[in-house]
């Protein structure tokens, strides 16, 4: 323990303003008790003054009769407290590290002036949050600067988005759309920037990948949070942006991750296909500048920043020819077939020389932020901010990166010239107005936020043609050829004689060696323009009073209005697909039928779905004798969702979320706590469901005359003229059944949609959490903690069918009239042990170990197996037959997770220093399943054995390093160079494996009970029954089952240069 003489004779500590950041969002608290050093009796009326570089002005409070004081509404930062009272020597304590949303206790003893003896008081400022039970980690710039975080690539990777920091918390891991916290899926998290939500209104994922350069502090709350946080069943990522202060400070920086330094990737052995695609990193980078300072000293400050970023990859498309061989059939005749590798079962192939074609894969973003903070007086301040994260990707021949997941393009199965015709546009704009005020001697605090979060999400033709127009790319239909052809015979490919010879060597015109079936050409297909808005207003009042102890009572109200406006169409009005009889199916088209054979085409489909959530909370934090804090509260929310036609579609009423927590500080000195918490959380359902179900979109279909010389001629159908001819009314052919059809329409199909019904007994989706834990401050700034979390789902909302997929409704599995469905379960149990040392005296460390188990039949708002992001309407619960053997270890179950982060700073001279940061992340593998084709749903939807019961993928280790060199040019100007190496040793362990036990098109029944005798890895095809009743055969088995489908991301090196002043 650090022992220091704390009493000072005189003087006021002057705090130099070294850091420029000043957060307007302030929710942290310092509490404490002042006693006399002589008699240990409480001292009343001590003037306590808090100052910090992050605090505009200073905050002053006075101790009460019990010697207690409380300084609320503090922004996170490093504080100095001064205690003044007549007849006592003034006393000051500095280096108090206060984090976002934390309450820390600083008890002091004051020395009476008449005392002459020297009294030594043992004390360093504590860092344990004694006021709350919430768990997670807090990441500040000290950490971001010294540890390799924000891996390049992936979602928000180029911009170095704050959300990826969530992965640092114990119990967190990356998932397909962000970071999964405590077994939940990333769209369940609450993303909060300066008190306002930035969740994508339609899909729940983070809609604003704000650069960490704009962020002062990120608090990742993984559980145990109070009612003031709601509408989330995952964790809460609470970020506070930077503000200006009384001195001008700023930075200019740049980061670059070049592809040339990327480590060797282990190639995935997979079944060869005729068309292949590979993505290689060119470079990822971001650069920018920030500036903050006073406009009116002590009154009005500004902060502004701009941060462009880019991602460049190369996609190489190439063509393979399969090797063919002669074989003898059982009846003695001979034929040719594709040769297979006897070990992998994969087709053997060779690259067709000269078939490679390279595409750029590009993404650019230009983030910006501006903020004004106005201190009306010491007790009232307002701030207004504007932030934007616009980005574009692909277009003009370049391919796009998926904005929601960060995924790179897959194989380009079509005309090589038809790719790169669309541009992905995504981005967000946030406008926020915030007020914080204190009344009645700081006994009543008011916080109010008003915000508008606007998001765009569009895929548009890159030639600028408009959705619904028949000009340019928007007017050109996507064509899907579906009959078997040789790729060498396709005019779009431009393959030479050598290639033709290679393909035609199969003796079947290349249809065996170079087969293509599904091949796209023509226009871009689905194009859409979405505008999403979230209007938010929330206010909370805090009232502090004493009654059998100290109370911090909070009450708040919260209103959110969401809207999702989308205009979409298929380019050319329709996508045309070739049929086996050479006719063309005109199927992807928006429109309806006014009556039998009275189709009305819609040039585009407009929809506007909305949601209103109204809620509020009350909570009291009652501290008794400075030792026991009882946090009790309740939150209430109701959500109304309106469908695309403006009709009310669903109500999620009366979400009553009780939260109850107990924190015990046994020594009443802020250095230890033991806590327990119960919380009920409810989900705010994203608008995608309203858009898709209330009602679904209307479309109709027809068949058109095809073949050489017909209106839809395959030779011309990819051209504008050919398509004009094909799309004429006169090309529509009568349906197969002719006049005997039972459909009153003889030519056109479909065109009507009804709203999806909702179970009248529907309950909102939510989960419960139990949390117990303890924290102890071992040494100054070093906390040791342990906690246990148990989470489970209450009601879950999903779409289901009780008649084998004929009709669907939205309800709660196992409740209401979905009674024959099993309950949706997701049970998470975790034990975490952690050690945390905040940055001081030149070093920091964080270490955690988490043991966890994630078990159930419900993964969350997206399906990890196939990436389907359809919150509350995934295919998970569609049919009762899908649920056999579906309960088991869920895909994100990782038994062991170790996270170690450490950094040390070295000073060489007064002006030159360096830092070294190392991190280690070790995870045990994820469960493997045996999946097969489902008789109704196909794909790999049937669980042959109990979910996740076929062993695990291997343990994955990852070591990252950071080296920083800082050179101080003068008092406040510093140049820093940083080198982040991700996956330092380029470990190439298997990350994911193939879970499909059957080949495509093989439909099987789950094994009853989900188990076989012996090791599930030894599952034999004959143990599996096909849907037709026959046993599965060896040739129907996927030989790649349990083999690698991806490896760890390779080593990447990021160089950074930054100048701060």
């Amino acid at each position: 323990m650090h022992v220091r003489r704390m009493l000072r004779a005189t003087g006021v500590v002057v705090v130099a303003s070294l850091s420029y950041g000043t957060a307007a969002y302030a929710d942290s608290v310092i509490i404490g008790t002042v006693v006399g050093a002589d008699n240990k009796k409480p001292v009343a009326d001590v003037v306590v003054t808090a100052t910090s570089p992050n605090l505009q002005g200073e905050q002053v409070v006075v101790t009460d009769a019990q010697g207690n004081y409380r300084i609320p509404q503090l922004p996170p930062g490093v504080y100095t407290l001064r205690f003044d009272k007549e007849s006592y020597r003034p006393f000051s304590r500095s280096e108090i590290q206060l984090r976002l949303d934390r309450t820390i206790r600083v008890n002091v003893e004051m020395l009476p002036e008449e005392m002459s003896e020297t009294i030594v008081v043992t004390a360093t400022p504590p860092t344990i949050d004694v006021g709350s039970t919430s768990v997670g980690v807090n990441v500040d710039q000290d950490f971001i600067k010294r540890i390799a975080v924000n891996r390049p690539g992936g979602k928000g990777g180029a911009a170095r988005s704050f959300e990826s920091l969530a992965e640092l918390a114990p119990g967190a891991q990356s998932d397909a759309y962000g970071v999964s916290i405590n077994g939940t899926t990333s769209p369940e998290n609450g993303y909060v920037v300066d008190g306002l939500s930035t969740n994508d209104p339609a899909f729940g994922v983070n809609g604003s990948p704000l650069s960490v350069e704009f962020v002062q502090d990120v608090n990742i709350i993984t559980g145990g949070y109070m009612p003031e946080y709601g509408r989330s069943t995952g964790g809460v990522l609470n970020a506070v942006t930077k503000s200006g202060s009384n001195e001008f400070h700023g930075s200019v920086y740049g980061n670059l991750t070049p592809g040339v330094f990327e480590g060797q990737r282990t190639p995935v052995v997979s079944n060869a296909s005729v068309i292949t695609g590979r993505n290689n990193l060119q470079a990822i980078g971001d650069f920018g500048a920030t500036l903050g300072g006073p406009i009116l000293k002590d009154k009005l400050w500004f902060f502004a920043g701009v941060a462009p970023s880019f991602s460049n990859y190369t996609h190489t498309r190439a063509i393979n020819a399969f090797e063919t061989e002669e074989f003898t059939r059982p009846d003695g005749t001979t034929g040719r077939r594709v040769a297979r590798d006897p070990v992998t079962g994969f087709n053997k192939s060779q690259r067709i020389p000269g078939s490679e074609r390279e595409y750029d894969v590009t993404g650019q973003s230009l983030q910006y932020m501006g903020k004004l903070t106005y201190l009306i007086n010491q007790d009232h301040n307002v701030s207004v901010s504007l932030a934007g994260t616009p980005s574009v990707s692909g277009g003009n021949g370049a391919l796009a990166i998926n904005a929601r997941s960060g995924a790179l393009p897959g194989t380009l199965n079509g005309d090589p010239n038809s790719y790169g015709q669309t541009q992905g546009v995504a981005g967000s704009t946030t406008v926020a107005l915030k007020y914080a005020g204190a009344l009645m001697d700081k006994k009543v605090l008011i916080d109010a936020n008003l915000g508008w979060f606007h998001q765009t999400s569009a895929t548009l033709p890159s030639d600028g043609s408009k959705i619904g127009s028949m000009e340019g790319l928007a007017g050109l239909s996507l064509i899907q050829f579906r009959n078997l052809r040789s790729i060498a015979g396709l005019p779009y490919e431009n393959l030479g004689d050598e290639a033709r010879a290679l393909c035609n060597a199969d003796g079947q015109g290349g249809r065996l060696a170079c087969p293509v079936r599904s091949y796209f050409a023509g226009g871009p297909g689905l194009i859409s323009d979405g505008l999403l808005d979230r209007y938010q207003a929330n206010a909370k009042a805090t009232y502090m009073f004493s009654a059998l102890g100290n109370h911090v009572f909070k009450a708040g109200a919260d209103l959110e209005l969401l809207s999702y406006q989308q205009r979409k169409t298929f380019s050319g009005g329709v996508t045309l697909a070739e049929e086996a009889d050479n006719s063309w199916l005109d199927s992807r088209r928006y429109g309806y039928q006014n009556g039998p054979d009275q189709p009305v085409n819609l040039a585009y489909q407009d929809s506007l779905s909305r949601s209103t959530t109204v809620g509020g909370f009350i909570q009291d934090s009652w501290t008794i004798a400075n030792r026991v804090t009882l946090n009790a509260g309740v939150r209430y929310d109701t959500q109304w969702m309106y469908g695309a036609t403006g009709q009310l579609g669903i109500v999620l009423p009366n979400q009553v979320s009780p939260r109850l927590g107990l924190v015990v500080d046994p020594m009443a000195n802020g250095r230890m706590k033991v806590y327990a918490n119960f919380a009920r959380y409810y989900e705010q359902v994203p608008l995608n469901m309203a858009d898709r179900a209330f009602p679904p979109e209307a479309s109709y279909a027809a068949y058109r005359q095809g073949g050489a010389g017909a209106p839809c001629d395959p030779a011309t159908i990819t051209t504008r003229e050919g398509q004009d001819e094909c799309r004429k009314d006169s090309s529509v052919i009568e349906r197969d059944e002719g006049l005997t059809t039972l459909d009153p329409s003889f030519k056109y199909l479909g065109g009507k949609v009804d709203t999806t019904p909702v179970d009248p007994a529907l309950k909102p989706q939510g989960s419960d959490e139990f949390l117990v834990g303890a924290e102890y401050e071992l040494l100054a700034n070093i906390r040791l903690g342990a906690n246990y979390t148990h989470r489970y789902m209450n009601s879950v909302i999903e779409d289901m069918s009780r008649d084998d997929g004929h009709t669907y409704f939205i309800g709660n599995p196992s409740e209401g009239f979905a009674k024959e469905f099993p309950k949706a379960t997701r049970n998470y149990d975790a034990v975490t042990v952690l050690l945390n040392r905040t940055f001081s005296d030149g070093w920091l460390a964080q270490a955690s170990y988490t043991w966890s188990r994630l078990y159930g039949n419900y993964a969350g708002l997206f399906r990890p197996e196939n990436g389907q992001l359809d919150p509350n309407i995934t295919s998970d619960f569609d049919l009762t037959s899908l649920l056999e053997n579906r309960e088991g270890l869920l895909p994100y179950d990782r038994t062991h997770a170790i996270k170690l982060f450490g950094a040390k700073e070295f000073s060489f001279t007064k002006d030159l220093s360096a830092s070294l940061g190392l991190s280690y992340r070790g995870n045990s593998g994820t469960p493997i399943s045996a999946l097969g084709g489902h008789p109704i749903y196909g794909g790999t939807e049937a669980f042959i054995l109990n979910r996740g019961s076929v062993g695990r993928t291997p343990w994955v280790n990852n070591i990252d390093s950071n080296i920083g060199v800082n050179y101080r040019i003068n008092k406040s100007n510093i140049v820093s160079f940083s080198l982040d190496v991700f996956n330092l040793f380029n470990f190439q362990e298997i990350a994911t494996v193939d879970n499909a036990f059957t080949n495509a098109g093989v439909y099987v029944l789950p094994i009853e009970g989900g188990k076989i005798d012996g090791n599930p890895m030894d599952l034999k095809p004959e143990q599996v029954t096909q849907a037709n009743g026959r046993p599965m055969t060896e040739s129907q088995r996927n030989l790649n089952w349990t083999k690698a489908t991806s490896y760890q991301a390779p080593r990447q090196i990021r160089f950074g240069l930054k100048y701060t002043f």
């Binding site: 407009d606 006049l739 005997t740 039972l742």
Partner: protein, 298 residues
């Protein structure tokens, strides 16, 4: 942007008023399952008429049932709903447009072709029975579909969606004969027929638990000027085959064959297995003793 902020403030003010009303799930309105993938299956119960007459023999059949929503398209592809209605196309009418029969294959010299075992080689011949059925944009073919004038937007308190204004649906099909080349005689493959279906009082049951999957109504059927009979129509969706044997002797294993769990029907349906109504095969229909809606526990 300022317009948006104004909108936001207006919305904030209005929000309480807009949403403050209902905590109950809204009705999904009158849903009707279309026969796109599967037809409806009807059973007919004679109400008025002579069971021995030619028109008093209907037992049941497949129905094509479709719901239409008529919209008015305004500027910017904006749609305004004008009305909803349904169309019913009974198999008994639709099937009259053509007939398929077996006829002898003739050799080039006009003699009957026989195979190497000496058997006469037959082929399927399909002929249309209604002349000009496609003229005037399928006017005659469309006359075999019964269209209602309206379909209610919302179900009544019993969950039934009323329809009004059904026009009669009819078909007049000509006689089809073939020459039996072996016997040297003319055989009537299909007699001349003139059939009329007049539906009335059709009500579709629509509830979130069974959205538009049962209907009831009255059918006046006539197969000529001299014969008319009135039936009660009970139908369900989708058409599902069944095994009368299993229906009579229910076990847990044969549920899918007796219109229960796994058959493709809503397992709460009180459905019975009736022979000879699905192209001659047995099929599930609502229990006539219950009427529509027919549920096990309602």
């Amino acid at each position: 942007m300022s317009k948006r902020i104004v909108t936001a403030v207006a919305l904030l003010g209005a929000a309480g008023v807009i949403s403050g009303c209902s905590l109950e799930q809204p009705s999904a309105g009158c849903i009707v399952q279309d026969s796109t993938d599967y037809p409806w299956q009807a059973v007919y119960v004679l109400k008025n008429g002579d069971a021995k007459s030619s028109c008093g023999q209907l037992k049941g059949e497949a129905l094509g049932v479709y719901k239409y929503i008529e919209f008015e398209k305004g500027a910017n592809e904006r749609l305004t709903k004008k009305r909803a209605y349904i169309g019913i196309r009974p198999e008994g009418l639709a099937s009259k447009f053509e007939v398929t029969y077996k006829d002898e294959v003739l050799n080039a010299d006009g003699t009957v072709k026989v195979d190497d075992k000496g058997a006469v080689v037959m082929k399927d011949v399909t002929v249309e029975r209604v002349d000009g059925a496609r003229d005037n944009n399928y006017a005659i073919a469309k006359a075999a579909t019964a269209l209602s004038e309206t379909l209610a937007d919302e179900p009544d308190d019993k969950g039934l969606c009323a329809t009004t204004g059904f026009k009669p649906a009819s078909v007049t099909a000509k006689e089809v004969v073939r020459e039996d080349e072996v016997k040297g005689e003319t055989v009537v493959v299909a007699p001349a027929e003139s059939l009329t279906y007049t539906f009335s009082d059709v009500k579709v049951y629509s509830d979130p638990s069974a959205p538009g999957t049962q209907l009831a109504g009255t059918l006046k059927y006539s197969d000529g000027p001299d014969c008319e009979a009135e039936y009660t129509v009970l139908a369900l969706w989708p058409q599902v085959g069944c095994d009368p044997e299993a229906f009579a002797n229910p076990t847990e294993e044969n549920a899918a064959d007796r219109c229960a769990e796994g058959s493709g029907l809503n397992p709460d349906f009180d459905a019975v297995c009736v022979e000879g109504i699905a192209g001659g095969d047995p099929a599930c229909v609502p229990n006539p003793a219950k009427g529509v809606p027919a549920f096990k526990n309602k």
